[in-house]
Amino acid sequence: TQTVSQSDAHVTVFEGDSVELRCNYSYGGSIYLSWYIQHHGRGLQFLLKYYSGNPVVQGVNGFEAEFSKSDSSFHLRKASVHWSDSAVYFCAVSGSTGANTGKLTFGHGTILRVHP
C-alpha cells in the first residue's frame, strides 16, 4: 500500500517569503514522486517529479523539491513566492513498474495562501 502524507493543510506567507511544503510517503518499491498545483476551479498542473539521480529537482516557476530516502520525504520549496502562487499543492507517488505505472496516489493537498 502506498500512502502520501502532507502534514500542513494550510500555509500562509507573504509575497517574497520563502516557503516549504512538506510531503512524506510510504511505498515498497521503485517509485516516481511528483508535485502538482491546482488553482481554484481548475485541473491539476504538473510541477516537477523525481525518479532517480540528483535528489534536488527543479520545476516550473522557480519551484524545486528534494528527495530524501532516509526521511521518506519529498518537500517542495520556493525561495521567493508571488501572490499568483496561491493554490493547492498536491504531492503524489506512483510505482515505476508494471500496472502501478501511472496510477498516482495523492496526498490531501496543502493550501498555500500568499498575501501581497
Binding site: Y32, Y36, R42, L44, K49, A99, G102, K103
Partner: protein, 114 residues
C-alpha cells in the same frame, strides 16, 4: 495543443438518473486516467487505460460505475443510478508514452446529484 478536454463542465442530475462524462485526451497520449475529487476524500484514483486497453479499475465502485475507451480520442465514465454521494469533480488526465508518470489533467466535470 488544446489540452485534455472534459465535457460537460457542470452537470446536475436527479438521484437515480444516469450520468455520462466525456474526456478527450491530448493527441498522441497513450494513457488515460480517471480520478474523483471531493473535499472529504481528496483525489481518488478510479481507473485507467493504456493504448485503449483497461489496465486497472481498482478504484471504481463496481456496481454503478463503468468506463470505456472506444477509440484513442475519447473515453467515457458512466454512472448509473446516481446517488448524492457520487457528487464530486471527476478529473480526466492523459499521459504520453514514456513520460515517467507525468499526467496532464483536464479542468474536470463537476457532478451534483440532487
Amino acid at each position: 495543443n488544446a489540452g485534455v478536454i472534459q465535457t460537460p463542465r457542470h452537470k446536475v442530475t436527479g438521484k437515480g438518473q444516469e450520468a455520462t462524462l466525456w474526456c478527450e485526451p491530448i493527441s498522441g497520449h497513450s494513457a488515460v486516467f480517471w480520478y474523483r475529487q471531493t473535499i472529504v476524500q481528496g483525489l481518488e484514483f478510479l481507473t485507467y487505460f493504456r493504448n485503449q486497453a483497461p489496465i486497472d479499475d481498482s478504484g471504481m465502485p463496481k456496481e454503478r460505475f463503468s468506463a470505456q475507451m472506444p477509440n484513442q480520442s475519447h473515453s467515457t465514465l458512466k454512472i448509473q443510478s446516481t446517488q448524492p454521494q457520487d457528487s464530486a469533480v471527476y478529473l480526466c488526465a492523459s499521459s504520453p508514452p514514456n513520460s515517467g508518470n507525468t499526467l496532464y489533467f483536464g479542468e474536470g466535470s463537476r457532478l451534483i446529484v440532487v
